[in-house]
Amino acid sequence: MRNIILLIQKYRNFLFFLFLEFISLFFLFSSRNSYHHYNYLSSSNRITSSLYNFQYNMFSYFSLREINNELLIENTSLKNQVLNKDMVVGRKFIKLEDTIYQKNFLFKEVKVINSQFKYFENFLIVNAGSKSGIKEKMGLIGTKGILGIVKNVTDNYATIRPLINPNFGLKVLHQNTNSWGDLIWIPQENNFQNIFVKNIPIYTKVKQGDYFISSGAEGLFPAGLKVGKVIEIIENIEQQTLDIKLKIEEDFSRIKIGFVVMNKTVDEINLHLKKK
């Protein structure tokens, strides 16, 4: 017994080091999927996110002009869509308020108070949380294209898992041929401006400059939102597929605003997805 105590005394530094190291490695490998860890020890908790919010309030003033321009461009495109839609051709029918049409998507405007883009696992923080009706697994879109999926929500803030995270997964469509592909961001090969689309059949006719759009499956995003533009096509002969490199529409180093997508029919869609 005496010897054991002497041994512990002799190696107490090393044992203490091992103890702390064990705790931190436990954090590292267990916290990834644990809800409770993520709620308290992540950047969307109250203290850290309010600090990020403070920083955003100080520095967002300098990029107001850029934000304004982006919103103007988006406004014009939306105006084009809306004004071109309801052109009166004849006066034979009157459009009544009916129950056949129902709004499918609701949008909640948010500010992106912190955007990581340099690391292996990048995250965004937005300044709206469960008090604003945001829940996990909702989509986030920007002014040009899709941004990410809500990962974790606290009262006033939410963490987003963006496209540029290796754990992000989404099915996307090729705009011209409607082929399905998988979005994959590989941190060793991609930077924050490009992303891979894999598992597209080799006979698909894909050209440079084509767009990939969101499919609308899983109810996360409305169909037809732009994801990125094709810049490089690599043929994978062994698997008979194409590996396509996209340039992401959104610039993750300077996003300031986004819109959280709430799908009203998401429960129904989930019901069908689970049955498979």
Partner: protein
């Protein structure tokens, strides 16, 4: 007492500089190569007569706070603990024990510039190497990993020189 306050200021100041300044630097498409981490300076600059247990506790909390901000829970902490434990080894490898007095903080003015470069260079390079290895958790793309580690070490050393001229330099 003044020493304590100065340490607290360094502790908080390094975290703020790391999270709200260095992490926000934008170098366009090359910015994934520039993510230097300077928080280990707090551990490395500590006096030699600080006990290892104290150092380990400092390292643990420094790492945890940074990790919470950067959403990499446990990553900085584990690497920082290893660096803390290896600090005497690095120091012995570049100089004999009598060269540096026990109650002097280690920085480029007390150590001399060359020894600063060697000691801080080796430790910060090890930090980045272990950090990137643990982050990607595989041995793929080792060459790019080494390149990133070297680039980040150099930029972190430069930034630390700048910081020391600002806050430690006395005429």
């Amino acid at each position: 007492m003044i020493f304590e306050f100065r340490n607290i200021a360094w502790f908080l100041g390094l975290i703020v500089a790391q999270i709200f300044f260095i992490d926000y630097l934008d170098f366009g498409i090359y910015s994934s190569y520039f993510s230097p981490i300077i928080i280990c300076f707090f551990i490395l600059k500590m006096k030699l007569d600080t006990t290892v247990i104290n150092l380990l506790i400092y390292a643990f909390f420094l790492g945890i706070i940074t990790d919470v901000f950067r959403n990499t829970l446990g990553l900085n902490t584990s690497v920082l603990l290893i660096i803390t434990f290896l600090k005497p080894t690095f120091l012995n490898s570049i100089s004999s024990k009598e060269d540096i007095e026990n109650d002097v903080e280690l920085n480029m003015f007390t150590m001399g510039f060359l020894r600063y470069l060697l000691f801080f260079g080796i430790s910060i390079f090890t930090y980045h190497l272990l950090f990137f290895l643990l982050e990607q958790f595989s041995f793929n793309n080792l060459l790019i990993l080494f390149l990133r580690a070297i680039v980040n070490t150099i930029s972190a050393l430069l930034f630390l020189v700048f910081l020391q001229y600002l806050f430690i330099f006395k005429k």
